[in-house]
């Protein structure tokens, strides 16, 4: 898989938040790869740094947060090395765009939907107001928005959550970006809408030939939509691989627990829960951050941080359990 060129390559990313209680190490050496036209699901418990990852990619972390190390290589250049100007002119909205959890609150209440979409368009393409407006209508139509001519003239508060999210997607895709970061795009919507939106994202990106980083805590969604999955725990990526690999032949004890704790039909007995609680990221556990909760923890785990082991092509785990396995190969 290392041969196959990757669109985005995050290496050893460190993002800290300097609060008065102490430094919150939200991301501690995160590695992540997204290939072209690939749908990567980023899963993990709330507070494990999924959203921070998304924002870090676009460098939208505002104080007291700060990206203090690592690289985010996108299309061959390190985003962390770009100037604010370059970021906003070349990357944000043009190459990489993002949609958020709360569609309605992420649209400016005082502007019409149309004007907000066309604003995005006019930012990155030299077209006049009218054209931009036309385009925003057409793109809204592509998002399957009923009667876009009317919608463009409406204000966000007049839209339903689903419609608002459609509008957001339209806005995000308006300058056909290469990467779309979708941060919990459906968690605030009804289940029925959820399916539609996910479908929409799926076929839109195939249409626009973009990649997607789908941030979610819902394994179901991942199973349905994603090609690849990265599991995060407490600011680290702990397992990465194809959907099938992760769901069928997952390696990491945490992934194990995560999957077990998803309720299924015809399930006997009570739901499985992972022992202990999510560690506080100001003073995270040494070594493997999961070891205090890990059923198979060993002495070593508490001492040093496990590297990524490629247990099989395109499937890597950071856990000492697989130290030997890799040796064998």
């Amino acid at each position: 898989m290392s041969k196959e060129k990757s669109l985005l390559d995050i290496r050893n990313l460190k993002t800290y938040f300097y609060t008065y209680k102490g430094v919150v190490k939200a991301l501690e050496g995160l590695n992540l790869r997204i290939g072209a036209n690939e749908l990567l699901g980023l899963v993990g418990e709330t507070g494990c740094g999924k959203t921070v990852t998304g924002l870090s990619i676009l460098r939208l972390i505002d104080s007291p947060g700060k990206i203090i190390g690592g690289e985010i290589v996108f299309g061959g250049e390190d985003l962390l090395k770009l100037s604010e100007n370059e970021m906003s002119e070349r990357i944000r909205g043009k190459m990489i765009s993002m949609i958020f959890q709360e569609p309605r609150s992420s649209l400016n209440p005082t502007y019409t939907v149309g004007s907000q979409i066309s604003e995005a368009i006019r930012l990155h393409q030299r077209v006049n107001k009218r054209e931009a407006f036309e385009r925003s209508i057409s793109i809204l139509r592509q998002t399957g928005m009923p009667d876009p001519e009317r919608i463009v003239k409406e204000y966000p508060h007049e839209l339903s959550g689903g419609m608002a999210q459609r509008a957001m997607i339209a806005m995000a895709l308006s300058c056909d970006p290469e990467l779309l970061i979708a941060d919990e795009p459906t968690s605030s919507l009804d289940v029925t809408i959820e399916a539609q939106i996910l479908e929409l994202i799926k076929d839109l990106i195939s249409k626009f030939r973009a990649s997607v980083l789908l941030i979610t805590h819902d394994l179901g969604i991942v199973a349905e939509t994603c090609d690849k999955v990265a599991v995060m725990y407490a600011g680290n990526g702990i397992e990465y691989g194809d959907v099938r690999d992760i769901f069928k032949r997952h390696k990491h004890p945490y992934t194990e627990g995560l999957l077990k704790s998803v309720p299924k039909l015809k399930m006997r007995g009570e739901l499985y829960t992972i022992e202990g609680t999510v560690p506080n990221l100001i003073t995270p556990p040494t070594g493997c951050r999961f070891h205090p909760r890990c059923p198979e923890a060993r002495k070593k785990c508490s001492e040093l941080k496990p590297p990524d082991f490629e247990v099989e092509p395109g499937h890597s785990v950071s856990c000492f359990l697989y130290l030997d396995q890799e040796k064998r190969e």
Binding site: L60, S88, E89, M98, F100, S105, N108, P109
Partner: protein
């Protein structure tokens, strides 16, 4: 409820409030065991005369009667006659009110022009030096007694440097324009006297600044805090993620939303400027209602006091109403109809 109903309801409430204001003023001004006649005639006048005039002005009648009379006339649009100026109060107010309006409008313009930028600056540079400087600057405005700072400024800019003209609405050697609207600025233009117009504006600078300085602080403060709040919203992040430049984010997306609460403050302040004028007008020899009502209170000219307070209260409530209506236009989420 639709817009019309909303406005009507508000007007109704306004009437109630105004009636309350009149009542309160009446009660307070009649607690004083004295009356204008004695005040105006001073110690030299013989008592018989005072008794006679009291009767003539109906001041010897029982209070409730006087009150009912006043309100009755009020309902017929008659503000009564001022004992002090011996003229219909409406005439006095027509003479004075425009000047006050001119002054407070000018100072509000100043306050807004300074206050909002200051607010923006300190919001965008929160807890950095620019923030501190602009806050200290604007807070100075509400930390000085105007009657003092006014005099000092006069001494510096008029008396010593002679950059700005004397106190008073226009230079002593100029004659006022023929009264059309009562607003000297407008009348002078109507009369085609540009010189006078400019002179009038120059005379307005100092008092307007002194007066406006005081409401500048609250405007800046409100702009700042609402700006800070807005900048934390999702749609600001979204705007950034679109690739908007920071200034574009601030001015196109943040400011507009931040203005909504600021407008309220502006409206409220305008109302309070009218009375802030009381002190400023005295220092700058400005012929507005400020000096008028002060005199009226000192001479216990009840009817004048009541009518003037009524006028001010009315303007104030009107400002509030206008602000609420403005809301509908600024914030699409609010709909009266």
């Amino acid at each position: 409820m639709n817009f019309r109903a909303f406005v009507l309801r508000r007007l109704m409430l306004m009437l109630i409030v105004l009636f309350g204001v009149v009542t309160i003023t009446f009660v307070i001004s009649h607690i004083i065991p004295a009356d204008p006649i004695g005040a105006i005639l001073g110690p030299r006048a013989p008592d018989e005369l005072i008794e006679k005039l009291r009767h003539e002005w109906g001041l010897d009648r029982p209070l409730h009667e006087q009150f009912i009379n006043y309100v009755w006339n009020l309902l017929h649009g008659d503000l009564g006659k001022s004992i002090r100026t011996n003229r219909p109060i409406i005439r006095d107010l027509m003479e004075r009110f425009p000047d006050t309006i001119e002054l407070s409008t000018a100072s509000m313009i100043i306050a807004v022009c300074f206050g909002i930028p200051l607010g923006i600056v300190s919001a965008c540079r929160k807890d950095k030096i620019p923030d501190h400087v602009s806050r200290v600057f604007s807070l100075f405005g509400i930390s000085l007694p105007v009657f003092w700072s006014g005099l000092i400024l006069l001494m510096i800019f008029y008396y010593r440097l002679n950059w700005l003209p004397s106190p008073g609405p226009y230079s002593t050697y100029l004659r006022p324009p023929p009264v059309v609207t009562g607003f000297i600025s407008i009348d002078s233009l109507v009369a085609g006297d540009v010189g006078l117009f400019i002179d009038h504006l120059r005379h307005m600078i100092l008092p307007a600044f002194v007066l406006g300085f005081s409401s500048m602080a609250s405007i800046a403060r409100m702009t700042r805090s609402s700006m800070l709040e807005v900048l934390r919203q999702d749609y600001i992040k979204a705007a950034r993620s679109k690739g908007l430049k920071e200034r574009a984010v601030v001015f196109n997306h943040a400011l507009r939303n931040a203005m909504i609460p600021t407008v309220t403050i502006i409206g409220l302040n305008y109302g309070s400027l009218l009375e802030g004028a009381v002190l400023t007008e005295t220092i700058f020899a400005w012929p507005g209602i400020g000096s008028y009502i002060t005199g009226a209170i000192l001479y216990l000219d009840f009817q004048a006091v009541m009518s003037t307070t009524l006028l001010i209260a009315f303007t104030y409530s009107l400002c509030n109403l206008i602000v609420d209506i403005l809301y509908a236009f600024l914030d699409p989420r609010i709909k009266y109809g």
